[in-house]
Symmetry: C2
Subunit: 423 residues, 2 copies
Amino acid sequence: MRHTSKGADDDVRMRGFAQRDTVAAALAWLDAQDVQDAQARPLATETIPLRNAAGRVLAASVVSDVDVPGFDRATMDGYALIADSTEGATAYTRLPLSVIGDSMPGSPFVGSVSAGEAVRVMTGAPMPRGADAVLPAEWVETECTSPCKISALAAVSPGKNMGRRGEDIVRGTILLEPGRILRPQDLGVLSSVGQGEVRVIRRPRVRLAVTGNELLPSGAHPSGFHIVDANGPMLSALIERDGGIVDFPGLVRDDPSAILEALQADADVVIVSGGSSVGIEDLAPVLVARHGELAVHGIAMRPSSPTGFGRMGNRLVFLLPGNPVSSLCAYDFFAGRAIRALGGRPKEWPYRAIQGKLNRKISSPIGRLDYVRVKIDGDLVDPLAVGGASILSSTTRADGFVIVGDDSEGFAAGSDVKVWLYA
Amino acid sequence: MRHTSKGADDDVRMRGFAQRDTVAAALAWLDAQDVQDAQARPLATETIPLRNAAGRVLAASVVSDVDVPGFDRATMDGYALIADSTEGATAYTRLPLSVIGDSMPGSPFVGSVSAGEAVRVMTGAPMPRGADAVLPAEWVETECTSPCKISALAAVSPGKNMGRRGEDIVRGTILLEPGRILRPQDLGVLSSVGQGEVRVIRRPRVRLAVTGNELLPSGAHPSGFHIVDANGPMLSALIERDGGIVDFPGLVRDDPSAILEALQADADVVIVSGGSSVGIEDLAPVLVARHGELAVHGIAMRPSSPTGFGRMGNRLVFLLPGNPVSSLCAYDFFAGRAIRALGGRPKEWPYRAIQGKLNRKISSPIGRLDYVRVKIDGDLVDPLAVGGASILSSTTRADGFVIVGDDSEGFAAGSDVKVWLYA
């Protein structure tokens, strides 16, 4: 597939796509790229401080080189002793014990416990040498003449109320596997084995090029025949949601050299918003076809049919329609999937799905996939009565969307449907 | 409730809690604080750039002061004309039209369209004066002698393939309501009406004070009887997950003046990790009781029973046990709930719940709530065979947890249970 620039074939190009790929065929190309990447050049990694690692994707197994804890410790406040010293103790048969010192967390008792002796311990304190149990403070009566005398009111068995060295983590244990999206408690475990840094998959760098001479930059007020860029802020937030790092230096003119420069940016992924169709001002597909590979252009779906993607060297390139609903939908189907995959995350949508009952039918032709925005009212799913790909506010009024596959004519009123919830 | 400092009552304090609040009573106190806050001093707000607003909580309604689009526009590539000019056109009855110019997005046709005339338009371009429909490029035959002559191959009806001014957003519409957690597409809509900034609820500032003389800072290697802080990195990540801003300047010595300084930090919430029980080194509850209000201390749950909370002036203060599983659980039940509420977010856990079938029974005494870590294997829910609150690795091996309420003796093997999934 190859396009020439403006001129004789303008009219052909204005006639629309000669044929459209199915969504499945488009996804198959995309997923094959990921496989190729993983084989040809494993996903790049980086080492970052643990404090920044929440939500990042672990790149390599973490094996502990220490026991946690590194010593036997008390798991209750009380008295460390030899369990035998309490044998037969009850509230009526109190057994006297001599308190020979304290063991506090980080500051152990120096010395050894013999029969009839006890060391006062706090939870977490190292067990003194010789002791094999902790008698909880609740089971002790104290007479604090100096030195303190205590009496055991109950017996404990050996090993009671203490934790052994390595009870949390044994040296050599694989703590976490590659691909793990790091949870808060994972950071705690990594910290406890002495890992101040962690090796994670590098976040994909995404160059966002928003084109359209009719656009004013976000922050401007709409004026005259100029509209304010909605896709830049929206796509930036989507890319970040999916773990990408956004490079969005500003709007790009509808000019071949400006667009080509963006297509050749130092990035893992380039997303061009706008000018993705086959009209005379749709420059990006022509440029990708000429300087790289335009693998997919035109997809049998609504909205987002004028979507393209391919490669420019090592970069994956996505050409998203300028209409903002199309842009959102095409991002979620294709570009977001690639960004998530490159970053080692699950390819699936990061949306939660629920089941609901349609209150009105949805019709859709065979051969085209439809993305239908819906509102949820209790158990009922209400398709919004707007079709236009330009109506971005439909995606803020909607609670989510229903997908009608290209092998389906839609759903009758009352059908159970799966709804993907925006979040 | 009032504690005195170390001395005569050490032994009483080592005996454990005289009584424990139920989780419900503890939550009732906490939720009453939020209500009180909301009445006494509405949640503080701040204005931030739109580009940083994804995931933030909107503080005020946003009303559009413009129509979007601000003009009628083409929704297809083709020819803008008076629909009547195409009346009767078919592939066999071609009707000639004179092309009198172009209208491009942001660069309208200057002039007016009369019967028999057409203006070439791109999707999104302003409709020329006089035109009331767009004839798609696919329905046109072109002869490009100069000037171009085109023929309509089909008829269009008035209003076809064009969008009216305000079709996306009508001036005066309430776009988004307060409390909305801003989605990527919300940023797009806000941008399109000219909002470069957005008023959001301020993120709660949380001072994190991790105490324990036995602790080494995260990043150190465990050594001798010192263990490395796990709670600091874990709690920092949890606080950020819940929308808080973490102030964690480093470990705090088990020293009354150091802990008091943290309790009086410039913050909305203070979290003290460690030293929360009733032992002789448990300083924080005594300090809160003396200098503020220790409303809850000791909760009928496992783990996390030695949890306390209250107020120091305007600050909500949480005293979390040093044992890391207790710390996680107490954070999720209490501190996280307060942080989410202060930031305008739903109080509920940010965990997804699923149903599963227990493969072994869970026993729990009446009067105590239990937090049971479980693994998921298909549909089966497997309680982990570890009880200890010190075994943080149990929360990384687990996929989630099951709650046994204090009115329940647990669940029989084969029961359907609700599992909250860690994420």
